[in-house]
C-alpha cells in the first residue's frame, strides 16, 4: 500500500482517482498472478503457509478497495456476491473464497490494524484502512485548508457529500469521526454539537 498522503494534495489525488477510473474502464483492476493459483482460495492447514496466504489476501483486498473506493468488506460478500466478486472469486479457474476463510482473513487484518470491526462487537463486517485513520486525518485537514474551510463550522454531511467530489466523498462516518478525533488531539479540529447532529471546526495549527 503506498502511503503518500502527506505529500498528496487534493489536486493530485483527484488526478490519481481520475486515472484509476480511466484504468478501470480500459484495463480493469490488475489482479496479481497468485489470484489464478487454485490453492490460494483454500484455508491452509499449515499455519506458516496460512500466514502467507492471509498476507497476500490482505494486500489484494486493500489495493482493490483503494482502487474502487470501497470501505467495507463483509463475510456476506463471499456468500451473496456484489462489489467484491472480481476479487473473491475467480471464474476462470472456478474457485471462490469460502466465507469461513474470508472470516479468518478479516480477523488477520483486524489483528494487523489494517481494518477494524465496524460496527464493534461483531466479526462479520470490517472497515478497511487502505488509508490509516492518521492518514485520513491529514487528508481531511489538507482538504479543509485548500478549500478554505478553516474556522467555519461544517456538518459531517458537507464533508462526506461535497458539491465538488473530494477524496473524502463517501467516507464512512465512523472513519471520519476517528480522523477528526486524531486532529482534535493536536488542536487542529474540534467536534461541535449543532442543531441537526454533529459538526466540526478546523483550525490552522499554531506555528
Amino acid at each position: 500500500m503506498a502511503l503518500s498522503t502527506h505529500t498528496t494534495s487534493t489536486g493530485w489525488d483527484s488526478v490519481l482517482k481520475a486515472c484509476n477510473k480511466v484504468n478501470e474502464h480500459i484495463l480493469g483492476f490488475l489482479l496479481p498472478s497468485i489470484h489464478s493459483a487454485p490453492p490460494f482460495f483454500t484455508q491452509q492447514p499449515n499455519p506458516a503457509t496460512e500466514a502467507i496466504v492471509i498476507e497476500q489476501w490482505t494486500k489484494l483486498i486493500l489495493s482493490y478497495a483503494r482502487h474502487r473506493n470501497l470501505f467495507y468488506l463483509r463475510v456476506e460478500d463471499a456468500e451473496t456476491g456484489g462489489d467484491w466478486d472480481e476479487v473473491l472469486r475467480n471464474d476462470r479457474i472456478n474457485r471462490r473464497l469460502p466465507p469461513a476463510h474470508l472470516s479468518s482473513i478479516l480477523a488477520g487484518m483486524v489483528a494487523k490494524n489494517v481494518a477494524s470491526y465496524e460496527p464493534a462487537k461483531q466479526t462479520r463486517s470490517v472497515l478497511l484502512y487502505w488509508r490509516l485513520p492518521e492518514e485520513w486525518a491529514e487528508v481531511l485537514h489538507q482538504w479543509a485548508s485548500t478549500t478554505g474551510q478553516m474556522n467555519t463550522i461544517m456538518t459531517f454531511y458537507e464533508i462526506t457529500d461535497p458539491p465538488v467530489n473530494s477524496p473524502l466523498t463517501n467516507i464512512p462516518l465512523p472513519l471520519l469521526r476517528k480522523a477528526i478525533t486524531i486532529l482534535a488531539k493536536s488542536n487542529r479540529a474540534q467536534i461541535i454539537a449543532i442543531a441537526d447532529g454533529e459538526g466540526v471546526r478546523f483550525f490552522t495549527p499554531a506555528k
Binding site: 497468485i34 493459483a37 490453492p39 483454500t42 492447514p45 506458516a48 503457509t49 497476500q56 472456478n94
Partner: protein, 248 residues
C-alpha cells in the same frame, strides 16, 4: 689382514663426499632460486592477466567459465579466501564477486522460502538474482550459481543444488528430501505444480496410504505444498509451490 679405509685413498673419499655435498647444496640452492624466479614470473604474469581481464572475468560469463576451468586444470582455487593463498583472490577481486553473488543467492532463497518451502528452480533463481543485480551486474549463469553455492558451504547453511527429474533446483533448507518427496516434486514439475493421490497411485504404483502420507507430510510438516480443497476432479489437490508459476 689389510684394513681398508686407511691412508690417503680413504682421505680422498671423505673429501669427495664433502665436495659432492657442497655441489648438491649449490645445485639445490640454484634450483630454489630458479623456482623462486619462476614463481615471481608466474605471479607477475598472473597480476598482468588479472589486471587486464578482471573486468571481463566479472562481466563475461563464458570467459569466466573458461577461466575457472583453467584454474581447475592447474590446481589453483580462484576462490581461496585471504587465509589460504589469498593473494590470488585479492588479485582478481573474484572472491568478492563470488561472495557478493552468494549473498544475493541467499537473499533470493530466504525471501522466497515462505512461498516455495525452501526449494527454488535454478532458472527462477537466476532470473531473480539477475533482477536483484540490475542490468549493470552483467549476466550470470548456472555455473556461477553452483560456484557461489560452494563458497557458502563453510557457513553450514545447507544450500545445495539438487536434481529433480532432470531439473536443477536449489535447496536452502537443511532437510533431506526423501525418495518419495523427490518423486512427488518431479511429478509436480510435469503438471504445473498440481499433484493428487491418484496420480501417484496410477503412475507410480504407490499404495494410497503411502501417497497420502507423503503428500500430507509435505503439506503439514515441510510446507512444501499448498492445499486446494476445491479441486474439480478429486476435491483435494496438492500444489507444490516451487513448481508453480506466479509472482508474489
Amino acid at each position: 689382514m689389510h684394513r681398508r679405509g686407511v691412508g690417503l685413498a680413504a682421505f680422498d673419499r671423505k673429501q669427495t663426499t664433502k665436495r659432492f655435498e657442497e655441489l648438491s647444496n649449490s645445485i639445490s640452492q640454484s634450483q630454489v632460486t630458479h623456482l623462486n624466479n619462476q614463481l615471481t614470473q608466474f605471479r607477475t604474469a598472473l597480476t598482468h592477466f588479472a589486471s587486464t581481464h578482471r573486468d571481463k572475468i566479472k562481466s563475461d560469463p563464458s570467459f569466466r567459465h573458461a577461466f575457472q576451468q583453467m584454474c581447475t586444470s592447474i590446481g589453483v582455487d580462484p576462490l581461496a579466501g585471504p587465509r589460504k593463498g589469498g593473494w590470488w583472490a585479492e588479485l582478481l577481486g573474484l572472491g568478492d564477486w563470488q561472495y557478493e553473488l552468494g549473498v544475493q543467492i541467499v537473499d533470493v532463497c530466504v525471501s522466497t522460502r515462505e512461498r516455495n518451502g525452501g526449494l527454488i528452480e535454478m532458472a527462477e533463481l537466476i532470473r531473480m538474482v539477475s533482477k536483484l543485480r540490475g542490468v549493470s551486474g552483467g549476466s550470470i549463469t548456472e555455473d556461477d550459481i553452483v560456484q557461489s553455492i560452494k563458497t557458502l558451504e563453510p557457513l553450514g547453511a545447507g544450500y545445495q543444488v539438487v536434481d529433480i527429474s532432470g531439473r536443477k533446483m536449489v535447496r536452502s533448507v537443511v532437510k533431506e528430501l526423501d525418495d518419495d518427496q523427490t518423486t512427488i516434486l518431479g511429478l509436480a514439475q510435469e503438471h504445473g505444480g498440481r499433484v493428487v493421490e491418484d496420480m501417484l497411485i496410477q503412475r507410480r504404483q504407490w499404495s494410497r496410504e503411502r501417497a497420502r502420507t507423503a503428500l500430507e507430510n509435505m503439506l503439514l510438516r515441510d510446507g512444501l505444498c499448498w492445499l486446494d480443497d476445491q479441486d474439480e476432479e478429486y476435491g483435494r489437490a496438492y500444489w507444490v509451490t516451487s513448481a508453480m508459476k506466479w509472482e508474489a
